[in-house]
Protein backbone atom coordinates (compact mmCIF):
# COMPACT_ATOMS: atom_id res chain seq x y z
CA UNK A 1 0.00 0.00 0.00
CA UNK A 2 1.20 3.50 -0.78
CA UNK A 3 2.04 5.79 2.07
CA UNK A 4 0.04 8.99 1.99
CA UNK A 5 0.73 12.32 3.62
CA UNK A 6 -2.16 13.75 5.60
CA UNK A 7 -2.91 16.54 8.04
CA UNK A 8 -3.85 15.44 11.55
CA UNK A 9 -5.70 18.01 13.63
CA UNK A 10 -4.83 17.96 17.33
CA UNK A 11 -7.42 19.04 19.93
CA UNK A 12 -6.50 21.70 22.48
CA UNK A 13 -6.48 19.18 25.32
CA UNK A 14 -3.64 17.23 23.66
CA UNK A 15 -1.49 20.11 22.47
CA UNK A 16 0.71 19.90 25.53
CA UNK A 17 1.91 16.66 23.95
CA UNK A 18 2.54 18.16 20.49
CA UNK A 19 4.55 21.20 21.56
CA UNK A 20 1.45 23.32 21.04
CA UNK A 21 0.90 22.29 17.42
CA UNK A 22 -2.74 22.58 16.31
CA UNK A 23 -2.13 20.16 13.48
CA UNK A 24 0.72 17.94 12.36
CA UNK A 25 1.57 16.14 9.14
CA UNK A 26 1.96 12.38 9.18
CA UNK A 27 2.26 9.53 6.73
CA UNK A 28 0.80 6.09 6.35
CA UNK A 29 -1.43 3.87 4.25
CA UNK A 30 -4.18 3.47 6.84
CA UNK A 31 -5.59 5.57 9.66
CA UNK A 32 -3.77 3.34 12.14
CA UNK A 33 -0.48 3.87 10.31
CA UNK A 34 -0.92 7.61 10.32
CA UNK A 35 -1.76 7.75 14.01
CA UNK A 36 1.24 5.55 14.78
CA UNK A 37 3.40 7.95 12.76
CA UNK A 38 2.06 10.85 14.84
CA UNK A 39 2.87 8.93 18.02
CA UNK A 40 6.42 8.28 16.78
CA UNK A 41 6.85 12.06 16.57
CA UNK A 42 4.98 12.77 19.78
CA UNK A 43 5.28 9.68 22.01
CA UNK A 44 3.31 11.12 24.93
CA UNK A 45 0.25 11.28 22.71
CA UNK A 46 0.20 7.49 22.40
CA UNK A 47 -0.91 6.89 25.96
CA UNK A 48 -3.65 9.48 25.53
CA UNK A 49 -5.37 8.00 22.49
CA UNK A 50 -4.56 4.29 22.51
CA UNK A 51 -5.35 1.55 25.04
CA UNK A 52 -2.81 -1.10 26.03
CA UNK A 53 -3.98 -3.32 23.15
CA UNK A 54 -3.51 -0.50 20.61
CA UNK A 55 -7.22 0.18 20.20
CA UNK A 56 -8.56 3.69 20.27
CA UNK A 57 -9.60 4.72 23.76
CA UNK A 58 -13.37 4.65 24.03
CA UNK A 59 -13.52 8.39 24.75
CA UNK A 60 -11.31 9.28 21.77
CA UNK A 61 -12.98 9.95 18.47
CA UNK A 62 -11.03 10.11 15.23
CA UNK A 63 -12.55 11.62 12.12
CA UNK A 64 -11.50 11.14 8.53
CA UNK A 65 -12.72 14.11 6.51
CA UNK A 66 -15.39 14.75 9.19
CA UNK A 67 -16.58 11.11 9.28
CA UNK A 68 -16.17 9.11 12.48
CA UNK A 69 -13.68 6.37 11.59
CA UNK A 70 -15.55 3.84 13.70
CA UNK A 71 -18.11 3.87 10.87
CA UNK A 72 -15.43 3.62 8.17
CA UNK A 73 -13.79 0.39 9.24
CA UNK A 74 -11.75 1.80 12.09
CA UNK A 75 -7.98 2.04 12.14
CA UNK A 76 -7.57 -0.26 9.13
CA UNK A 77 -9.40 2.19 6.86
CA UNK A 78 -7.16 3.26 3.97
CA UNK A 79 -6.51 6.92 3.43
CA UNK A 80 -5.87 9.09 0.40
CA UNK A 81 -3.37 11.85 -0.16
CA UNK A 82 -4.72 15.13 1.15
CA UNK A 83 -7.15 13.59 3.61
CA UNK A 84 -7.59 15.30 6.95
CA UNK A 85 -7.73 13.37 10.20
CA UNK A 86 -9.00 14.95 13.40
CA UNK A 87 -8.53 13.56 16.89
CA UNK A 88 -11.09 14.68 19.44
CA UNK A 89 -12.06 13.55 22.92
CA UNK A 90 -15.78 12.88 22.95
CA UNK A 91 -18.22 15.72 23.50
CA UNK A 92 -21.54 14.55 24.91
CA UNK A 93 -23.71 14.48 27.99
CA UNK A 94 -27.22 14.17 29.26
CA UNK A 95 -29.42 12.70 31.89
CA UNK A 96 -29.37 9.09 30.74
Amino acid sequence: MTRMSVEVRIPAVFRAHTAGAKSVTAEGATIGDVLSDVVRSYPELGGQIFTDDDSLHRFVNVYLNDEDVRYLGGLSCEISDGDVLAILPAVAGGLT
Partner: protein, 140 residues
Protein backbone atom coordinates in the same frame (compact mmCIF):
# COMPACT_ATOMS: atom_id res chain seq x y z
CA UNK B 1 -12.73 31.95 37.99
CA UNK B 2 -15.49 33.32 35.80
CA UNK B 3 -17.00 33.13 32.35
CA UNK B 4 -18.22 36.38 30.81
CA UNK B 5 -20.82 36.19 28.06
CA UNK B 6 -22.03 39.24 26.14
CA UNK B 7 -25.79 39.62 26.46
CA UNK B 8 -26.49 39.06 22.75
CA UNK B 9 -24.53 35.78 22.75
CA UNK B 10 -26.22 34.65 25.96
CA UNK B 11 -29.64 35.36 24.42
CA UNK B 12 -28.65 33.47 21.27
CA UNK B 13 -27.57 30.48 23.34
CA UNK B 14 -30.85 30.36 25.25
CA UNK B 15 -32.88 30.88 22.06
CA UNK B 16 -31.03 28.02 20.38
CA UNK B 17 -31.85 25.74 23.31
CA UNK B 18 -35.51 26.78 23.18
CA UNK B 19 -35.55 26.17 19.42
CA UNK B 20 -34.24 22.64 19.95
CA UNK B 21 -37.09 21.63 22.28
CA UNK B 22 -38.27 18.99 23.00
CA UNK B 23 -34.66 17.86 22.67
CA UNK B 24 -31.55 19.09 24.39
CA UNK B 25 -29.72 21.86 22.56
CA UNK B 26 -25.96 22.22 22.46
CA UNK B 27 -23.10 24.29 21.14
CA UNK B 28 -19.67 25.77 21.69
CA UNK B 29 -18.47 29.11 22.99
CA UNK B 30 -15.20 30.46 21.64
CA UNK B 31 -13.09 33.19 23.17
CA UNK B 32 -10.21 33.61 25.53
CA UNK B 33 -9.34 34.43 29.13
CA UNK B 34 -12.86 33.56 30.26
CA UNK B 35 -14.45 35.99 27.78
CA UNK B 36 -16.86 34.58 25.22
CA UNK B 37 -16.56 36.13 21.77
CA UNK B 38 -18.26 33.66 19.43
CA UNK B 39 -21.13 31.20 19.70
CA UNK B 40 -21.39 28.04 17.62
CA UNK B 41 -24.91 26.65 17.67
CA UNK B 42 -24.71 22.95 16.92
CA UNK B 43 -27.36 20.39 16.05
CA UNK B 44 -27.89 17.67 18.61
CA UNK B 45 -27.15 14.54 16.58
CA UNK B 46 -28.70 12.44 19.35
CA UNK B 47 -31.99 14.35 18.89
CA UNK B 48 -32.93 13.40 22.43
CA UNK B 49 -34.53 15.19 25.39
CA UNK B 50 -32.08 13.44 27.73
CA UNK B 51 -28.81 13.31 25.76
CA UNK B 52 -26.72 15.50 23.53
CA UNK B 53 -23.98 14.75 21.05
CA UNK B 54 -23.06 17.55 18.67
CA UNK B 55 -23.29 16.99 14.94
CA UNK B 56 -19.80 15.83 13.95
CA UNK B 57 -19.39 17.97 10.85
CA UNK B 58 -20.63 21.16 12.56
CA UNK B 59 -18.52 20.46 15.64
CA UNK B 60 -15.32 19.96 13.65
CA UNK B 61 -16.03 23.08 11.58
CA UNK B 62 -16.51 25.07 14.79
CA UNK B 63 -13.24 23.80 16.24
CA UNK B 64 -11.40 24.62 13.02
CA UNK B 65 -12.88 28.12 13.06
CA UNK B 66 -11.77 28.51 16.68
CA UNK B 67 -8.24 27.53 15.67
CA UNK B 68 -8.31 29.78 12.60
CA UNK B 69 -9.43 32.74 14.73
CA UNK B 70 -6.67 31.91 17.20
CA UNK B 71 -9.15 31.77 20.06
CA UNK B 72 -9.97 28.87 22.36
CA UNK B 73 -12.93 26.68 23.25
CA UNK B 74 -13.97 28.43 26.46
CA UNK B 75 -17.36 26.79 26.86
CA UNK B 76 -19.46 23.80 25.89
CA UNK B 77 -23.15 24.45 26.47
CA UNK B 78 -26.20 22.25 26.50
CA UNK B 79 -29.70 22.39 27.88
CA UNK B 80 -31.53 20.37 30.46
CA UNK B 81 -35.12 20.42 29.30
CA UNK B 82 -36.73 19.49 32.60
CA UNK B 83 -34.03 19.35 35.26
CA UNK B 84 -31.91 21.88 37.13
CA UNK B 85 -28.78 23.40 35.57
CA UNK B 86 -26.33 21.11 37.31
CA UNK B 87 -24.07 18.46 35.73
CA UNK B 88 -25.63 15.00 35.73
CA UNK B 89 -23.50 11.88 36.29
CA UNK B 90 -23.47 11.46 32.49
CA UNK B 91 -22.34 15.06 32.02
CA UNK B 92 -19.44 14.41 34.40
CA UNK B 93 -18.51 11.09 32.83
CA UNK B 94 -18.49 12.63 29.34
CA UNK B 95 -16.62 15.81 30.32
CA UNK B 96 -13.22 15.49 28.64
CA UNK B 97 -12.32 19.08 27.83
CA UNK B 98 -10.72 20.36 30.98
CA UNK B 99 -10.06 23.86 29.68
CA UNK B 100 -13.69 24.49 28.78
CA UNK B 101 -16.50 25.53 31.08
CA UNK B 102 -19.56 23.33 30.90
CA UNK B 103 -22.53 25.67 30.64
CA UNK B 104 -25.98 24.28 31.34
CA UNK B 105 -29.22 26.06 30.45
CA UNK B 106 -32.29 24.76 32.21
CA UNK B 107 -35.60 25.09 30.42
CA UNK B 108 -37.60 23.55 33.26
CA UNK B 109 -39.39 26.89 33.45
CA UNK B 110 -39.75 27.79 29.78
CA UNK B 111 -40.60 31.37 30.64
CA UNK B 112 -37.56 31.84 32.79
CA UNK B 113 -34.54 29.83 31.60
CA UNK B 114 -31.63 29.77 34.03
CA UNK B 115 -27.98 29.10 33.33
CA UNK B 116 -24.99 28.01 35.39
CA UNK B 117 -21.42 27.19 34.46
CA UNK B 118 -19.04 24.57 35.83
CA UNK B 119 -15.60 23.11 35.47
CA UNK B 120 -15.30 19.36 35.74
CA UNK B 121 -11.92 18.62 37.26
CA UNK B 122 -10.37 15.21 36.67
CA UNK B 123 -6.94 13.81 37.43
CA UNK B 124 -6.88 12.25 33.98
CA UNK B 125 -9.15 13.46 31.19
CA UNK B 126 -10.31 9.86 30.63
CA UNK B 127 -11.55 9.44 34.21
CA UNK B 128 -15.27 8.82 34.48
CA UNK B 129 -15.56 10.67 37.77
CA UNK B 130 -14.54 14.21 38.53
CA UNK B 131 -15.06 17.12 40.86
CA UNK B 132 -17.63 19.70 39.91
CA UNK B 133 -16.66 23.30 40.55
CA UNK B 134 -19.11 26.08 39.79
CA UNK B 135 -17.71 29.17 38.15
CA UNK B 136 -19.21 32.64 38.03
CA UNK B 137 -21.24 33.28 34.92
CA UNK B 138 -21.35 36.98 34.09
CA UNK B 139 -23.73 38.24 31.42
CA UNK B 140 -22.88 41.78 30.36
Amino acid sequence: MKLSIPRHIYDEMVSHCLDELPNEGCGFLGGGDGEVKVIYKLDNAAASPVYYRPNDKQMLAALKDIDDKDITLVGIFHSHVMSPPFPSPTDVREAHHADAAYVIVTLADRDSPATRAFKVIKEDWRDEKGEIEEIDLVVS
